[in-house]
């Protein structure tokens, strides 16, 4: 019942945003900003770029709010990934190891950096698949829909990405002082 109510609220917010209601749009932003930012951060590996991509995506969404698609999350993630792709091509460089963001510094910062280092070792296509599946925690069907790929291909990419990350994490543990 609560899920239905929440779904209804979101439907109303989407309607509001489509008709240009900035407050409805603001509420949608509040709901999705963390996941949108996280997706771009984990794909691009840099705080500044991730924030820029998240910001530009949401401005773009507002300007084209009349064409908002549902399910909204899949639609937003697709737009974010398109911009990440452009940003990655523009920079032409592999993502750097993540430095601590002074604004969001937390106890889990080390783990975040460790995760990012492992993700950075993956090619973009594998990274996107595993981030959508394991960081954003979407099911395979939704990941396949967002990436416009057969579900089998997505499963295979996630499997491969997890294996490669596992190797990278093991390597990092062996090379760290504690791992000696």
């Amino acid at each position: 019942m609560q899920v239905l109510a929440r779904g209804q609220v979101e439907t109303d917010l989407i309607k509001g945003a489509r008709s240009g209601d900035a407050e409805a749009f603001g509420e949608l932003v509040r709901r999705y900003q963390a996941r949108i930012y996280t997706l771009s951060l984990r794909v691009l590996g840099e705080h500044d770029k991730a924030e820029a991509v998240a910001h530009e995506t949401l401005v773009d969404v507002y300007q084209n709010a009349a064409h908002l698609e549902t399910p909204l999350d899949s639609y937003l993630y697709r737009l974010v990934l398109d911009r990440c792709d452009l940003a990655a091509r523009d920079s032409g460089a592999e993502p750097r190891d993540l430095e601590a963001d002074p604004d969001t510094e937390t106890d889990g910062e080390d783990k975040g950096a460790q995760l990012q280092t492992a993700l950075n070792g993956l090619s973009l296509t594998f990274r996107v698949a595993v981030v959508l599946r394991d960081v954003i925690e979407l099911d395979y069907t939704q990941v396949a829909e967002i990436m416009d790929l057969p579900i089998g291909t997505v499963k295979s990419r996630v499997h491969r990405a997890r294996l490669d990350m596992s190797a990278a994490l093991t390597m990092a543990t062996r090379m760290s002082p504690e791992g000696d």
Binding site: A22, R30, Q33, Y37, Y62, T104, V135, R162, L163
Partner: protein, 280 residues
Amino acid sequence: MDRFFAQNRLSALIDGVLSQAEADEVDRAIHRNPDLATQHAGMLQAVELMHEVGPQQAPRGFQVRLMTEVETLPVPGGQVARVRSAARQIPMEAIALAALALVIGVVVHQRKVPDAPSANVTPRAAAPAAVSSKGVVKTAPSVEETAIPDVPSSKPPPRKVKVAPPESDIPDRLPPVYVDLTRPAAYKILGGGDQVLFKISSLGDTLGGRMVNGKGQPISPQLLSEDLAFKMVFLVVPVSKAAAAHQSLRQLSGQTSRPIQEKFNWLKVGQTVFMIEAEL
């Protein structure tokens, strides 16, 4: 089950999507093969790390910066948006020619019509700080042409300014609030909670001002609840009280407080607006 098949099912085992029989077989293969066990443990560690780190909070002030920009954009699907969209289709040369024709038209018109001075109107330039026309948001509908007698006139030619009718005349409507969202004076409340908002609200009461949202609608701190944990808040006070408000608003940096650094904006209606970033 041989090693190859078991290895290809490690992900499925971690996702918990294998049938019980198949999961048991993969488990047995893992116990038989140390390499497979290492791979399984490594994958499990990677997946757990991703779940543990999970989604990150957006950077502080992300929503304020975004909504500040959004407020300056034309309403999607609105007339302005459609006009802008149509304008993009017009070649630049045509726009340049039209602009040139307009300038010539205005110059010719000004030469024909002598200046008509008005004794009791106030020049806009007399205001202490200008609010740029770009990005200015007018949020209440009703305005009327009138003069502001208490602001001294200066050299620029006098022209009428739009001000709001007295609130007592239109109790159900607010005077228009002009907010220059491109240059907001920001006062951040990121950890102070609603107590800070109550203080600001009472400061507004003391100075004859009020707290409003981006549309000029009055708000009170009670409106900020868990369901609506974020709001853009503006403190609007009369120009004469601007300095006092500016002095009273202080920014916390660690354990010490200091006056806010940013200048406040001036409104066309003789009021001043302070933008407050509130995230409870």
